[in-house]
C-alpha cells in the first residue's frame, strides 16, 4: 500500500484479537478427557489467554483459535483430565 493511503499515526479502530486466529505457532494442543473432567474450572482460571470456554453446568471446551499450547492447563488440572497432544 502506498504511504499516501495509510492512516496517519497508525490509528485504527479499537477492539480485541477475539476475531483473529492467533494460534498458528502451537506445537501441542490440549485435549480434554471428558470422562475424567470434574468441571472444577481450575483450567479456566489458570489459562492466560483465555482460551478455555466455560459452558452451562461448568462444562469446558478449548478455543483452538486462541490457545497457544502453553500447557498450563495440563499442569494445573487436578484430575489430570487434560493432555497435550502433538499437532500433526
Amino acid at each position: 500500500m502506498s504511504w499516501k493511503q495509510l492512516e496517519e499515526g497508525a490509528v485504527v479502530k479499537g477492539g480485541t484479537s477475539s476475531t483473529y486466529i492467533v494460534s498458528g505457532w502451537r506445537v501441542k494442543r490440549p485435549v480434554i478427557n471428558e470422562a475424567k473432567c470434574t468441571n472444577c474450572l481450575i483450567c479456566w482460571i489458570y489459562c492466560p489467554e483465555p482460551a478455555i470456554l466455560r459452558h452451562e453446568g461448568g462444562k469446558v471446551t478449548i478455543d483452538y483459535d486462541h490457545c497457544k499450547g502453553c500447557g498450563i492447563c495440563e499442569t494445573e488440572c487436578p484430575p489430570k483430565a487434560i493432555s497435550m497432544v502433538k499437532e500433526t
Binding site: 500500500m1 502506498s2 504511504w3 495509510l6 496517519e8 499515526g9 497508525a10 490509528v11 485504527v12 479502530k13 479499537g14 477492539g15
Partner: protein, 409 residues
C-alpha cells in the same frame, strides 16, 4: 555584559507590523519565558518532571495552575518516561499538551519520543540543553538533543530569551497544523539562557489565543469510540509510515514560514529558519546554532571593521533542516566554518557540520569546510574565540579533521 549582535529579525523588531500587541516589557529568565508562553498558549495538560536546568519551568507552571492563572491540568509524575507517556495519552484526546526536560531526562524519554512522533501527536517540549553524564555536569552543550536528533520532532534552537518566548508560542501553531501534526522542541542552552534574565517584550493573552486557533485533531480518544494509536506495522507497511512523517516534516518547512508571517503580524518579530549576518560577498561564513550565534556575530562585526570579509549563518530551524536556504547563503563563499556544540565521538565531525556538508554535496557544491567542536560541557566561547577561529580558517591549517576548539592539551 558580553558583546553580542542580535539576529536581524530581532534587531528590527518594529518592522513589518500591522497590529503590535506588546503590552509589557519584563526581565525574564529563559525558563520563566517558556512558562509564561505556555500559560498564554492556554495549554490543557502539562506533565513534567523537574531537572536542572529546566526546573524553573516546572515550578512556574505548577504555580500558575495552583493559582488558577492557567486553567490546565498539571500532572506530577515520577520520571521523564512517565511524563512523556502521560503527555501521549492527553494529546491523543485532542488536548494541547506541554512538557519540558534536560539532559538525562531527555535521554530517559528517548523511547517515548518516537512514540509521540509516530502517533503524530503535536506535543510541544522545551529542552534546556545540558551535557550528558558521565562525568556528571550541569552546564550546557547540545549533546542531549543531538542524541535524539532523529526522533521525528521539529527542532528549533533559540539564541536569546525573547526568541525562546516567541518560539514556544509559534511551535504550538506549527505542530498542530493539520498538514504537519508533528511534535516539536524549543531548545536553548541551560543556564546561559535558561537562567539568564533578559528583556522580553511580552504579548497580550487575547491575540495569542486568536493566533493559536485550535484545529480539531482528526483522531481523538473517546471512550464511546475506542481507537488504537500507533498500532502494529509489518515490514510491509512500517517504511511507509516513516515516509509519511518525512513528508510531514518537509511540509513543516513551508508551514513554518506561514506561522512566522502570522507571528510577525502579531509581534513585529521574525527570525526565519536561518539568520544570515553579512554573508553577502563574504569569503568565509561561520555556521552555528544556539546562543553563541550572537557572540560570533560580534566577532564577525569586529573583523568586518578591519576589512575582513566574514559572515555568520545561524541555523534556527534544525529539523526540518532548511537545506535550500543554507546552500543559497553558502554557495558564493570561498570557505565555510561549522560550529558544533556537541560531539559525535568517532564520527568525522559534529552533526551540524555533517548536515551542512551533506547539503552542499547534494547541491553539487564542493568547498573547504572547517569543522569545529566547541563549548562542550558548558565551556565558554568568547568574542575573541570567534575571531581566533575565523583566523584559523584564514590560515587554512585546520581543514580536514574536526578541530576541538579550546580543549586543554
Amino acid at each position: 555584559m558580553r558583546d553580542r549582535v542580535p539576529a536581524e529579525g530581532h534587531q528590527h523588531g518594529e518592522g513589518n507590523v500591522t497590529q503590535v500587541q506588546t503590552t509589557r516589557v519584563a526581565a525574564l529568565q529563559g525558563d520563566e519565558a517558556v512558562a509564561e508562553a505556555v500559560r498564554q498558549s492556554d495549554v490543557d495538560v502539562i506533565a513534567a518532571y523537574p531537572i536542572t536546568p529546566q526546573t524553573i519551568i516546572v515550578e512556574k507552571l505548577a504555580e500558575f495552575v495552583a493559582d488558577g492563572r492557567l486553567k490546565g491540568e498539571f500532572v506530577p509524575v515520577e520520571s521523564e518516561h512517565s511524563a512523556l507517556s502521560a503527555c501521549v495519552g492527553a494529546s491523543a484526546t485532542g488536548a494541547r499538551v506541554f512538557t519540558a526536560t534536560s539532559s538525562q531526562g531527555l535521554a530517559y524519554m528517548h523511547e517515548m519520543l518516537y512514540n509521540v512522533s509516530g502517533m503524530r501527536l503535536p506535543i510541544v517540549m522545551a529542552v534546556a540543553n545540558r551535557a550528558l553524564s558521565a562525568p556528571l555536569v550541569l552546564n550546557a552543550d547540545h549533546s542531549d538533543l543531538m542524541g535524539s536528533r532523529d526522533c521525528g520532532w521539529i527542532q528549533i534552537y533559540a539564541e536569546n530569551v525573547e526568541e525562546i518566548y516567541d518560539r514556544t508560542i509559534q511551535l504550538f501553531k506549527l505542530s498542530e497544523d493539520p498538514r504537519v501534526m508533528l511534535p516539536s522542541i524549543i531548545s536553548f542552552e541551560g543556564f546561559i539562557l535558561s537562567h539568564d534574565k533578559e528583556r522580553v517584550r511580552l504579548l497580550e493573552d487575547g491575540p495569542i489565543g486568536r493566533f493559536l486557533a485550535r484545529p480539531r485533531h482528526k483522531h481523538r480518544l473517546d471512550p464511546d469510540e475506542p481507537l488504537t494509536f500507533g498500532a502494529i506495522a509489518t515490514p510491509d507497511s512500517y517504511f511507509e509510515f516513516r515516509k509519511q512523517q518525512s513528508e510531514a516534516m518537509n511540509t513543516a518547512l513551508q508551514v513554518f514560514d506561514e506561522v512566522e508571517t502570522d507571528f510577525e503580524a502579531l509581534s513585529g518579530r521574525r527570525y526565519r529558519a536561518v539568520d544570515a549576518y553579512n554573508t553577502d560577498g563574504a569569503d568565509t561564513i561561520m555556521v552555528i546554532n544556539g546562543c553563541a550565534a550572537g557572540t560570533v556575530r560580534a566577532a564577525a562585526r569586529s573583523l568586518n571593521a578591519s576589512g575582513e570579509k566574514v559572515g555568520v549563518l545561524a541555523i534556527k530551524l534544525y529539523r526540518p533542516f532548511p537545506v535550500d536556504q543554507v546552500v543559497a547563503h553558502l554557495s558564493e563563499a570561498k570557505s565555510v566554518i561549522t560550529m558544533d556544540r556537541s560531539m559525535s565521538i568517532g564520527a568525522p565531525s559534529g552533526p551540524l557540520s555533517e548536515d551542512v556538508k551533506a547539503s552542499l554535496q547534494a547541491s553539487g557544491i564542493s568547498k573547504p569546510v572547517m569543522s569545529v567542536v566547541y563549548g562542550i560541557g558548558g565551556r565558554d566561547l568568547a568574542v575573541e574565540d570567534g575571531k581566533n577561529i575565523f583566523g584559523m580558517a584564514k590560515e587554512g591549517s585546520s581543514f580536514g579533521a574536526a578541530l576541538m576548539y579550546g580543549v586543554k592539551v
